[in-house]
């Protein structure tokens, strides 16, 4: 049994098919006693105005149900997705730490867990089609069905985690006439690891990608650590992030740095597209209308390649990057640049490589002077915009600084 906290405003109703929904109103015991996480928040004065409290309760509840004693880092990681304007968070974190005393993790849900599992197993894993007078919602259960639906409904909006598309409904109040939801397809949630590569299913939640890439693709894992919030990462997928092709696309620059290959599929077969070719413009990709993104292939970099990711944002967590970056460099024995990839988000209408900087660096000695010179020409590669997040000047300076920061990180082993 796995309990995950998600933002309810990002979930389409059919997505919860086959799952147990637990809300704050459920947690109390039949005898009226509070759940340990509720009691902890009461005891630490973790609520003031109380308006954000139900969300915080559910975040801590999911953490409680994760089965082990959470560290401060894990508590912070879980709470990043909850905004509180009153408390300053300290008592909420304390409530999280106070859960350590409940070593057995018992609660009303653990007492009935076996029955719940039986009930959940009775719900068949099958394709669903919901139809109302003005909306059609497909939730196929197999990749094959999904591909057929894709071919037959070219206008359907493809949804994987829904974290981007749901905002069109909740914030922009759009009516989406036809949705193809890929969240129930097991084939899209696989991780296949080999000596050459790791293949990540496009439907894996970003949170599930994190542990899978932590050791071999640390720069990607680090980017995912500051990607949205845990509640968002529990829904959002790598495929979704690629498919929406945001100009910022937190994960895209680092995927570029790793030379990722995007595998797409239609009823006739598969195509493998290097990620730099996959992203074709502002929110456009090389994925054809009848194709679905099925996986991302990350070739294992050779030991001499150094990859790093960086994110500059107004707030470090739960924020969209002002500038994001994924960098890779391979140095030869003479400390000269053999290959390098310097990919940026937030600097253009699409995530893009700093081609002239890369060219400048090619073959040159990887020293601070050279790198600083190279970094200074990053302004030739981009003409960023001024928007709600930052000014164009800052973006250019930040991009330059990140290249230097990359060099610094390569000097520290």
């Amino acid at each position: 049994m796995r309990y995950t906290a998600v933002d309810s405003c990002l979930v389409f109703l059919p997505m919860v098919h086959g799952k147990q929904i637990i809300t704050v109103e459920n947690l109390m015991d039949a005898d009226g006693s509070l759940h340990p996480v509720q009691q902890a928040l009461v005891d630490t004065y973790g609520s003031q105005c109380g308006f954000c409290t139900p969300g915080i309760v559910m975040t801590l509840f999911a953490l409680y149900k994760s089965g082990h004693t959470p560290t401060r880092t894990e508590i912070d990681d879980a709470l990043v997705g909850n905004l509180c304007r009153c408390t300053g968070y300290r008592p909420i974190v304390d409530a999280g730490l106070a859960l350590a005393v409940h070593t057995d993790r018992k609660d009303k849900f653990s007492r009935t867990e076996e029955e719940t599992i039986v009930l959940l197993r009775q719900i068949k894993h099958e394709s669903i089609r919901y139809e109302s007078c003005n909306q059609l919602y497909h939730r196929p259960a197999t990749l094959h069905e999904a591909l057929v639906l894709r071919r037959n409904s070219l206008d359907a909006l493809v949804v994987s985690g829904g974290t981007d598309v749901a905002l069109r409904v909740t914030k922009k109040h759009e009516l989406l006439p036809e949705i193809l939801d890929l969240s129930a397809i097991p084939e899209l949630k696989e991780v296949v690891s080999s000596s050459e590569s790791i293949v990540l299913g496009a439907g894996l939640s970003l949170n599930d990608v994190r542990p899978a890439v932590r050791i071999s693709f640390a720069a990607l894992a680090e980017m995912l650590d500051v990607f949205g919030s845990k509640q968002i990462r529990n829904l959002g997928t790598l495929g979704g992030n690629l498919g929406s092709a945001s100009p910022i696309g937190d994960s895209l620059p680092v995927l570029m740095a790793y030379g990722a290959i995007v595998r797409v599929m239609n009823c006739d077969g598969t195509r493998d597209i290097p990620i730099t070719e996959f992203i074709t413009g502002y929110r456009t990709t090389a994925c054809r209308p009848d194709e679905l993104i099925t996986s991302v292939i990350l070739p294992r970099p050779s030991a001499s390649v150094i990859v790093r990711s960086f994110k500059i944002s107004k707030r470090q967590d739960l924020d969209i990057s002002t500038v994001s970056a994924g960098f890779a460099v391979q140095l030869d024995k003479k400390n000269c640049v053999e290959t390098c990839i310097l990919a940026f988000g937030g600097m253009a209408a699409q995530t893009k490589r700093a081609v002239s900087v890369e060219k400048f660096l090619a073959g040159k000695n990887w020293t601070r002077d050279v790198v600083e010179q190279a970094a200074s020409i990053v302004k030739n590669d981009f003409s960023p915009i001024t928007d709600a997040r930052a000014g164009a000047d800052f973006r250019l300076i930040a991009a330059r600084n990140l290249i230097l920061k990359f060099w610094i990180s390569t000097q520290q082993g």
Binding site: V42, Y45, Q48, C49, L79, G88, K314, R315, A390
Partner: protein
């Protein structure tokens, strides 16, 4: 054991009722506000007919449909409820729609045809100054002769400081439910900090008498000043729609609409000049405050007044000259926000001190110390109030020691020598904050307390529970007064029919004022009960009669202190009192004593007392990205004898973190047409859990009771907000390390990572030159 927050269990179970949770039996309509897309324009025509024809739409109203006054300004009547001839900011309400569903409202909105003639807007302070668009007369405040003193001062600095706007970001957006009653009655459930004003304005727009309008507030999901006047708007709109349709109407603003439509903390452009001696002691300070009032007056002048009264912060300035202007711009009218003009003033004074330290190459904490208000001399503010019971030196001594300031400053300096791209900074800042509404008559409060025959107590007071724990404090005050267990005391929803003509819950004064009113009500009841119980005892125990002066209320019993055997359980006594026809309810009233000042001369005693605090914050700044982390914060804050320590700590921590937001990540941007660009949580960044200090040590200053207040306590809501300036100046200290503190860095509020990187860039370019 301090009481838990009285709603804590309801918060954590989701049972706590906010406006949107109130169950309405039937006929509820959804209200929607159609607002101006232009920062400044004349309204040429307004066609609502097509919108009215949409199925499910029950009312579409414009200014001409308002039965009463089209006016909502709390002080100056310059704020229409619905724009009539012109619009003066983007987000200004023009038309109201009530329909059965939100979707029908949106459908109708699309069919509304309003034609505008756009005019040139004013969108920033500089343009407003250039065009001299004052919202009211300029004000000045003077002590001594700053101009003369400046001439003879050994050092003089001049500079400018810009402080940014801040969105309240209360979690519950502006909300109101209006339910029409019989005849012309209107029941208003509003998320407001000022129910009496909401009542008055609803009556005025509907052309009703105030005794027809009842406003009730159970709790609000955060206020921070943002519902002191802004709550009135939503209430008036909902009331107009409810009145027009005869059905209950609820308006709950979407987050983006709330952010676009409502006012914020005032932006300031501050110009300063300061003269000081070779030690760093201030001799003269001249300040020019320019605030962005937005399109209407709202509370801008009261806010500016508090700015003027806090320009000194904790320092004695022998010669002070202040000029203050509130400018009109085509943005939503700015209003109250925690600190109420204090933060901007204190940021200016702390900038001056910080610069003095940099120029004299001294530790800024030493410069602060030497300028603190004195105990017996140098203790009169620039507006003539004596700083009494001054704990500044005690706070200083204790926090400098507990924070290990001196050693950590040395360690930070050493760190900076060995780190080129990451710098550490540390700063100590104090706050001295005047407690009382500076508009003296507002310092009053009422309460209505009822005791029932089972011994339970119901407390009504005029304050609003917005998370600050006001009701919990009122509960414990009543319980202590009656000598009963707090669980026997319940605090009711605030209701204008129970306690009328109240002031806003604002100025940090909620517990001070309402606590005294609750106490006075309880005392009135106890007086009668003591007399009745004395009689009862005298009858029960013939011989020496009991006298009411010896009747005590302790441990759930009422007893004769002179005759310990004469005792009765509190609840039993209430039954006996009822049989004797003794009233068990009373209203209580309180007005703050011994305050008053001459606003014209700028002289007198505007404040009942001052609240003090000090903070030491250390940060680490990545110069390449502008990201910072707060390594450690120490706070020592003076709340007198705390009414509830965990709740007061919560106010201090929460205030500090909200202040951090204002100082660092909370940046508001408008585009060239006056559209708010940062109108959603994806672009407007309040602090999150990982933005708080990694090591956060908050202490209350103990054993310093505050005379003449409820249980010797002090107000706590606003003062800690300003302690976040220690983080702001610590960041500046880190940036300034780039040039070994020899050059004054460009700095402003908020110090976003963009500002930090650009400031560092400028310093580095200087290095290269």
């Amino acid at each position: 054991m301090p009481l838990k927050h009285d709603s804590a269990e309801k918060h954590v179970t989701g049972e706590a009722v906010y406006i949107d949770d109130i169950a309405v039996q039937e006929g509820l309509l959804v209200g929607r506000v159609v607002y101006s897309p232009h920062a400044r324009a004349r309204i040429l025509s307004c066609d609502l007919e097509a919108a009215k024809k949409i199925a499910g739409v029950h009312a579409v109203l414009a200014a001409k449909d308002i039965p009463g006054h089209n006016q909502m300004g709390p002080v100056v009547k310059d704020e229409p409820c619905l724009a009539e001839v012109e619009v003066t900011f983007i987000g200004q309400a023009v038309v109201l729609i009530a329909a059965e569903t939100e979707e029908q409202c949106r459908q109708a909105e699309k069919l509304i045809r309003i034609s505008y003639e756009p005019l040139e807007p004013i969108l920033d302070i500089e343009s407003a100054i250039a065009k001299d668009t004052l919202l009211g007369p300029q004000r000045t405040m003077n002590r001594g002769d700053a101009t003369e003193a400046m001439k003879s001062a050994p050092h003089v600095i001049r500079g400018e400081l810009c402080t940014g706007a801040q969105e309240h970001w209360y979690l519950e957006t502006q909300s109101c439910l209006c339910v029409p009653g019989e005849a012309s009655e209107m029941m208003v459930y509003s998320s407001t900090q000022h129910p009496s004003e909401t009542q008055a304005l609803v009556a005025e727009v509907l052309d009703l008498r105030r005794n027809d309008v009842v406003v009730e507030v159970r709790r609000i999901g955060g206020g921070f000043g943002g519902k002191e006047t802004e709550g009135n708007h939503t209430a008036c709109w909902a009331a107009l729609l409810a009145h027009a349709t005869g059905r209950p109407v609820k308006i709950r603003l979407f987050r983006a609409d709330d952010m676009i439509m409502t006012g914020k903390r005032h932006r300031y452009l501050i110009r300063y000049e300061a003269g000081f001696d070779n030690d760093g002691k201030l001799e003269a300070v001249k300040l020019e405050f320019n605030s962005d009032g937005g399109a209407a007056t709202d509370l801008s002048f009261a806010i500016m007044e508090r700015t003027m009264l806090h320009a000194d912060n904790a320092y004695y300035v022998p010669n002070m000259s202040i000029v203050a202007r509130v400018l009109k711009t085509n943005l939503p009218s700015n209003g109250a926000f925690r600190g109420f003009g204090g933060p901007q003033a204190i940021a200016a004074m702390e900038t001056i001190i910080d610069r003095i330290a940099r120029i004299l190459r001294k530790d800024s904490a030493d410069v602060r110390f030497m300028n603190f208000y004195g105990i017996d001399s140098r203790n009169v503010t620039h507006y003539g109030q004596t700083v009494e019971n001054n704990p500044l030196f005690m706070l200083y001594e204790r926090i400098m020691q507990s924070s290990d300031y001196v050693k950590r400053r040395e360690a930070a300096a050493a760190f900076n020598v060995s780190h080129e791209f990451v710098k550490r900074g540390i700063a100590m800042t104090p706050v001295k904050f005047g407690i009382s509404f500076t508009t003296t008559f507002l310092n009053q409060a009422g309460a209505l307390v009822a005791v029932y025959l089972d011994g339970t107590v119901l407390v009504n007071h005029g304050g609003i529970e917005m998370g600050q724990g006001l009701n919990t404090k009122m509960q414990s005050i009543a319980a202590l007064e009656f000598g009963i267990h707090p669980s026997a005391v319940k605090v009711n929803a605030t209701n204008t029919s129970k306690v009328p003509n109240t002031s806003a819950t604002a100025a940090s004064a909620g517990a001070d004022l309402n606590g005294m009113a609750v106490r006075n009500a309880a005392i009135a009841i106890k007086e009668r009960v003591a007399e009745g119980v004395a009689q009862l005892f005298s009858e029960q125990y013939p011989g020496v009669p009991s006298v009411k002066q010896h009747i005590v209320f302790v441990d759930g019993r009422i007893s004769d202190a002179q005759h310990p055997d004469r005792t009765i359980a509190f609840a039993d006594a209430m039954v006996q009192m009822n049989l004797r026809r003794i009233s068990l309810s009373a209203s209580g009233f309180y007005s703050t004593p011994n305050i008053g000042w001459d606003k014209i001369k700028g002289w007198g005693k505007p404040f009942h007392y001052y609240a003090f605090g000090m903070a030491v914050t250390e940060v680490e700044v990545d110069l390449l990205t502008g990201h910072h982390v707060i390594i450690r914060t120490d706070i020592l804050h003076d709340v007198g004898d705390s009414l509830n320590e965990p709740i007061d700590l919560g106010q201090i921590e929460g205030g500090y973190v909200q202040g951090l937001g204002w100082c660092t990540t909370e940046e508001i941007r408008w585009d060239a047409k006056g559209n708010l660009m940062t109108h959603s949580p994806d672009t407007y960044k309040i602090p999150g859990v990982r933005d708080i200090p990694m090591d956060f040590r908050v202490q209350l200053l103990k054993e310093v009771p505050n005379p003449e207040t409820i249980r010797n306590s002090k107000a706590v809501g606003e003062p800690p907000f300003m302690l976040a300036l220690s983080a702001w100046l610590a960041i500046k200290d880190a940036v300034s390390a780039v040039r070994n503190h020899e050059v004054e860095p460009d700095f402003a509020i908020p110090a976003t990572n963009e500002l930090i990187v650009m400031s560092v860039e400028k310093l580095r370019n200087l290095c290269d030159a």
